[in-house]
């Protein structure tokens, strides 16, 4: 890369391009996680016993070698010999031979396998010792491969994203509501009330957050709702501080004084004049909180304390991936990339907003 192109990228990196890319990525991942699982041909908890740890690929399974192996395994279970013509055609004719008459019920094994469609008997010879059947292959694509239980990774990744994003948004909402209310009241009331309320924030700051989240989650069951309430209740502190600072600067403006002179109640002033005027910084910071919450949830899930199987979240998928990374590194790469890019995009948007509303921090 030449020097000039490096400069261009570096300069574009802190400008609007990052914002656009981040927003586009967030929109894409949100849409994919919401509609993706229902569009996917696989269920997130469906186990394909014949396709355990299939690496990611665009080509459909089974390949002809896989089909041969599957047929051999089936023949062994049915205790007979199987001879197949080539697997390239839409339907494959298979000759089953045995030294006893073949029980037709054993053909159900074809139905149960993930590789074959139900078999049809075409002809019988030798008093049922030789059976001519026709069977079609069931073609399936696993774009991101399958996990160690034979479940489609792409579908699981999207379901996990749903959980992670939902926890992120809901917990941030909890943090937002508590933080804004607390900070605005403290800032607007001022004096003793302000001191007391901010003292509480300071005390909670000294608590080891993550330790408390883990204690909460471990002790009160792995409840989905509890996870985001627990995370939300520890993430509101920064928001309260920022909102208090903004309130302090807004409350001496003329329009607030005018409202006070007209006898508007403090609650109405807060609701109608103070909070709407700091939506900018609030939304900037809220984006950063979403990133923090998603990271925290993944952290808790990684330790095995979060969402429970068969549901999953990015942290849980990463934990599974690290266990299998020596043999199947894609199990780690895809979830880690999804989580990492989402975090980076959220941070990009949040930082951009913050700088837009607070020029000196640039």
């Amino acid at each position: 890369m030449s020097e000039s192109s490096v400069t261009v990228i570096a300069r574009a990196g802190d400008g609007r391009l990052t914002l656009k890319l981040s927003l586009a990525f967030l929109a894409f991942i949100a849409l994919a996680c919401i509609v993706g699982p229902s569009l996917s041909p696989h269920d997130y908890d469906h186990v394909y016993r014949d396709y355990v740890l299939v690496p990611p690929s665009f080509t459909a399974h089974p390949t002809s070698t896989e089909a041969e192996a599957a047929l051999a395994a089936l023949a062994q279970r049915m205790r007979l010999n199987a001879q197949a013509s080539s697997f390239d055609a839409a339907r494959t004719s298979v000759t089953l031979t045995s030294n006893k008459p073949i029980d037709l019920r054993s053909l159900r094994l074809f139905e149960r396998s993930d590789v074959f469609a139900p078999a049809q008997v075409v002809g019988t010879q030798d008093e049922g010792r030789v059976l001519q059947i026709e069977v079609a292959l069931r073609h399936q694509t696993f774009l991101f491969g399958t996990d160690s239980n034979g479940r489609d990774l792409l579908t699981r990744l999207l379901i996990a994203g749903r959980i992670s994003l939902a926890v992120g948004l809901l917990a941030s909402l909890v943090a937002l509501v508590i933080g804004v209310a607390w900070g605005a009241v403290a800032g607007y009331a001022g004096g003793r009330v302000d001191q007391l309320m901010m003292r509480v924030v300071e005390i909670i700051y000294a608590l080891p957050f993550v330790f408390f989240v883990i204690v909460l989650v471990v002790l009160f069951g792995r409840n989905f709702i509890l996870i985001f309430v627990a995370i939300g209740t520890v993430e509101w502190l920064d928001m309260a501080r920022i909102v208090r600072g903004e309130t302090l600067s807004i409350k001496h403006r003329d329009y607030v004084a005018a409202a006070e002179a007209l006898g508007v109640s403090p609650a109405a002033i807060l609701k109608r004049h103070v909070v709407p005027n700091m939506l900018g910084p609030i939304s900037a910071y809220a984006t950063l909180i979403v990133a923090q919450v998603i990271l925290l949830e993944s952290f808790v899930s990684f330790l095995g304390l979060g969402v429970q199987e068969p549901l999953t979240s990015w942290g849980l998928l990463i934990a599974d991936g690290t266990r299998m990374m020596q043999s199947s590194v894609y199990l780690l790469v895809f979830p880690a990339a999804a989580l990492g890019m989402t975090l980076a995009a959220l941070n990009g948007v949040g930082t951009h907003f913050r700088e837009a509303f607070d020029p000196p921090s640039r």
Partner: protein
Amino acid sequence: MLRLVAMRCLAAVPTLFIIVTLSFFLMRLAPGGPFDTERGLDPEIAQNLQRIYRLDLPLPAQYGLYLSSLLHGDFGPSFHWRDFSVNDLFAHAMPISLRLGGEALGVSLLCGIGLGVLAAARRSTALSMLAGGIAFLGIAVPSFVIAPVLQLVFGLGLRILPVGGWNDGAWQNQVLPVATLALPQIAIVARLAQASFGQSLASTHIRTLRAFGLPQRHIFLHAGRAAMTPILSYLGSAAAGLLTGSIIVETTFGIPGMGRYFVDGALGRDYTLVMGTVIVVALLVIVFNLIVDLTYALIDPRIRHE
């Protein structure tokens, strides 16, 4: 100065008290107990156990007992490791965790400040891109991804460092854990240092120094002192971040430190062990913040004379 120390220490007392109370009642509110087994104990044995560990007393009495033993510096017996007291466990685990954390903090400050200052001073594209790249990694790659990847690359791939274990603190065993702990912190420190040092270099008093023709060395010293404050104020959060990271690092690398005891204790309902960890961690954070505040006063005369 002394008054500042005294006031800070006094302010920490109610915080600690609230933490102790909160963690005590939180643990007891939870369903299940430390002696629950799959088959259930003989009622007589269960009763004896309850009596030995004083779990048969009413809750306020237990609370009082726990507070008074805390005041004597006793965290009580561990419920899970039956032959050990929590103090015994901590005596082993604390030095390990503190050493790892201290080394990680040192490494992250050294690398972070170095990288940030270089990027700000040279204004070279390559360096600032390197700083930006590391900052991006710090944001986008959480420590629970870094740790296994390092294990895979250096432990299993290149075979130059052990995959895990403590081995009485041999340096080979410390490299990967310290790197995992330090990397996210390096990212943040570098970004802070780059921003504040750049701002400081552009300020008017530095311009005056330049106009006087002072050597570059002097200018950097003056700029650096003013640029230290944002990094210092971040150190409190850095300590908390390192403690959180130690949970991941110690479980992934199999290091017998505080973080691992905490997770095991929480899963096994080991009341005293979990409470002990929470209290010790809170104490660490408070003490560290105190030190940071005092260093502040040393660097910034405005705070000292307030």
